[in-house]
């Protein structure tokens, strides 16, 4: 950790020495970064640092080979409706131990714009401190809260923790399911992630267990330190249920511009997984400088009969969002759902949607996508519905709505539809609307300010998605949308 950035105050020193524990890191601080570049040696080093078993190293190396082949033969994928400069993948450092951020003495030192956003989102002072790297009062020991939850979960046989822990403590589960939904060479970014992933979350819900709480509080605590290449694996065994919340409404800043995460979900017979995301990474400034490039591969396999996977996402951050949470409906009578709100403001670009691959009989899928474009933002829905020949009597309903705010933004829809039997039905509805002067005038005339009126219109537009979110998350999401779109109307 660089001393020059940090005033050597007692609090800072204490933090520097106790910090690793607080966030549960086990890595040594002095050896925190490898030089830029990616080759087999770097992958070996990452694996060694994490004390990984041989099989995982080999898995990573195969992924690296796959990535190198994709890079050589096809290069970085450019089919999405996104414009961004070429990324020099050899200029990135692929391993850095979680660094302690420069210590701040008080919230007064935090960027006022960031604080403003925190206040509007109603985030508590203690949490604000934690998120912005201000030394936290010892009384507010978030880790101990998390530990309490973990004890309760483990009584029920639920395994929930970091991916690294799972590799060491439950290798049989990791080995069985890792890459079984998103194969290592699935796509360019997934292959990159598979080779170099840092850490992430792992959850296993045993047979017949209904997870008694949203797996959220714990995750929120970790959210501030998730790495650039995050890996998540969730397994719901037969007849189990879990609701998982990822992300946080608070604005997240990260010096790493490229993010490439992979999330794999597996639902066995009669199991249900509900996966909710709020993504609010740094979107760049108003001129489009900076901001995260977010290339995410999320996929769930409804492997068992009557299993169900439901994705709900609220995407408001990042300069570039490339993300298609998908469901493979293998089991007969399985159900896939995708509910999405994606917002692009200023110069943000999003190309997001889903894939519903129907393989089993009587499988059903629902897609509700709400794209909001403001400023000069570009918002693309891209979705594939594939109903295979064997997937008789299957159904899909898709609804893609776009809302435009102002006249410099864009909304685009690319549905890909492929139905290979005659007993299935598919419906696709799409609409594009503009926040009209008529709507604003009407609400203004009833006494509502333009800000409240536009927030009401936008939240109404997103209602079908928000109602899928757990209650507390939904309230936060509404506030987040208002903050994100602030100043774009009127």
């Amino acid at each position: 950790m660089s001393r020059s950035e940090t005033p050597a105050t007692p609090a800072a020193i204490e933090r520097a020495t106790s910090g690793e524990y607080k966030y549960g890191f086990v890595t040594e601080i002095e050896s925190d970064t490898v030089p830029p570049g990616l080759d087999a040696d770097v992958v070996r080093l990452i694996s060694a640092r994490k004390n990984e078993p041989e099989w995982l190293l080999e898995w990573r190396l195969r992924a690296l080979e796959g990535w190198e082949r994709l890079a050589r033969e096809q290069g970085e994928p450019r089919w999405a409706n996104l414009r961004f400069p070429e990324i020099d993948f050899q200029a990135i450092s692929y391993y850095s131990a979680p660094k302690l951020k420069p210590e701040l003495e008080s919230l007064d030192e935090v960027d006022p714009e960031l604080r403003d956003a925190f206040d509007k989102l109603g985030i508590s002072i203690e949490e604000q401190k934690r998120l912005s790297g201000v030394a936290v009062d010892a009384v507010f020991d978030s880790v101990s809260v998390a530990t309490t939850f973990k004890d309760k979960l483990s009584e029920m046989g639920i395994i929930f923790g970091s991916f690294s822990d799972a590799v060491l403590n439950h290798p049989e589960l990791v080995r069985k399911y890792l890459g079984s939904v998103v194969p290592p060479a699935d796509n360019f970014y997934a292959a990159l992630n598979s080779a170099v992933f840092s850490d992430g979350s792992f959850a296993y819900i045993p047979r017949g267990v209904r997870c008694p709480m949203e797996l959220s509080t714990y995750f929120r605590i970790n959210a501030a330190n998730t790495g650039q290449f995050e890996r998540t694996l969730l397994i719901a065994d037969e007849g189990s249920y879990v609701s998982y919340l990822e992300g946080c409404t608070a604005p997240m800043r990260d010096e790493n511009q490229l993010h490439a995460a992979v999330v794999e979900l597996v639902a066995l017979d009669d199991a249900q997984i509900k996966y909710s995301t709020i993504q609010n990474w740094y979107p760049g400034d108003k001129e489009g400088r900076g901001g995260i490039f977010n290339f995410v591969t999320k996929r769930g396999a409804c492997r068992g009969r009557r299993s169900k996977i439901s994705w709900t996402q609220v995407e408001t951050g990042s300069a570039i969002t490339w993300k298609y949470p998908s469901c493979i409906l293998q089991g007969d009578d399985s159900v896939g759902e995708f509910y999405s709100v994606a917002v692009t403001n200023n110069l943000q670009q999003a190309d997001t949607g889903t894939k519903m691959i129907h393989l089993g009989k009587n499988t059903r899928s629902t897609i509700i996508s709400k794209g909001i474009s403001a400023g000069r933002g570009q918002n693309t829905y891209r979705g594939q519905v594939m109903i295979q020949r064997r997937a008789e009597n299957s159904r899909n309903y898709s609804q893609c709505d776009s809302l435009l705010i102002g006249d410099e933004c864009g909304a685009h829809t690319f549905p890909y539809i492929d139905v290979r039997n005659t007993s299935s039905t598919l419906e696709h509805e799409a609409s594009t609307t503009k926040i009209g002067e008529d709507q604003l005038f009407y609400l203004n005339q009833r006494g509502l300010s333009t800000e409240d009126a536009s927030s009401m219109i936008v939240n109404g537009f997103c209602k079908e998605v928000f109602r899928e979110l757990p209650m507390e998350f939904a309230v936060e999401a509404q506030k987040l949308l208002s903050v994100t779109l602030e100043g774009s109307v009127g």
Binding site: F441, Q445, S449, T450, D452, G460, E464
Partner: protein
């Protein structure tokens, strides 16, 4: 009546893209009065309502005084909170926002402006259900998205419900009778009459006289080609019903417009 009028228009002119729609309107509305503004299509009736409410897109001259304040200096929502209400000719649909959620937000914006305590969900529901009942509106109406999928008549009744709940000082009803059948018209008019406050006023903008059978105006004004060409009492409205607007249009065209 002594003191300032509730609403006073002075030499009000409105232009859209260089075209003059209102060509100098003078009008005084006192507390307790009901005025009818009638006229053929395209005469500027809706523009008059929109301009008072504050819709943007007009070049304006003249003054609109509401209880002595110049409304032209106030944004739309401030005018609304001061007590100006317009029932829209074409109420706007807001998908995903329930009628009651919207109306509670609107009412509390107005109450806050007046320095009154905001109503909580229970008190609000009590108030709005009572008003809905008076207007013959089913309670399920309140949980539907604002105007979305409403029939023409339902939208108009919803406008009157909003008016009843917000309890404004000045209500401008822009063609509220269109789309209503005779029974609905009677209920709506009764709702307005029953609810109406003594210190308030109603301006009914209409093409036809039929609403005026139920909502009896103290004054009738005829608007033709952006000017009030004649003002009178309720008898004028009846005369228009019999004779149409032709004779007044002819007079206006020959430049002999008269004013009492």
């Amino acid at each position: 009546m002594a003191g300032q009028p509730l609403l006073e228009l002075r030499k009000l002119r409105a232009r859209v893209e260089g075209k003059e729609i209102l060509k100098g309107i003078d009008l005084r509305v006192e507390e307790g009065e009901t005025h009818a503004v009638m006229g053929p299509n395209g005469s500027g009736k809706s523009t008059l309502a929109n301009v008072i409410a504050g819709r943007e897109g007009y070049e304006l001259e003249g003054e609109i005084l509401f209880r002595g304040r110049n409304l032209l200096e106030l944004p739309i929502e401030e005018r609304a909170r001061e007590g100006v209400f317009m029932a829209f000719q074409y109420p706007v649909e807001i998908p995903g926002v329930t009628n009651s959620y919207f109306l509670k937000a609107a009412l509390n914006a107005v109450r806050k402006h007046r320095g009154e305590q905001e109503l909580d969900a229970i008190d609000f529901l009590g108030l709005v259900r009572e008003q809905a009942k008076l207007l013959g509106i089913d309670a399920s109406f309140l949980d539907r998205p604002l105007n979305e999928g409403f029939s023409g008549g339902e939208k108009k009744r919803n406008e009157v419900l909003q008016m009843a709940v917000l309890n404004p000082r000045l209500a401008i009803l822009d063609e509220t009778d269109s789309g209503l059948d005779i029974d609905a018209l009677r209920i709506v008019a009764a709702g307005i009459n029953a609810r109406w406050r003594q210190d308030g006023a109603v301006v009914v903008i209409t093409h036809y006289q039929r609403l005026l059978n139920f909502l009896v105006p103290d004054f009738t004004h005829v608007l033709i080609d952006g000017r009030i060409v004649r003002s009178g009492d309720r008898g004028l409205a009846e005369e228009l019903e019999e004779r149409g607007y032709g004779w007044l249009e002819d007079e206006a065209a020959s430049g002999e417009s008269s004013r009492p």
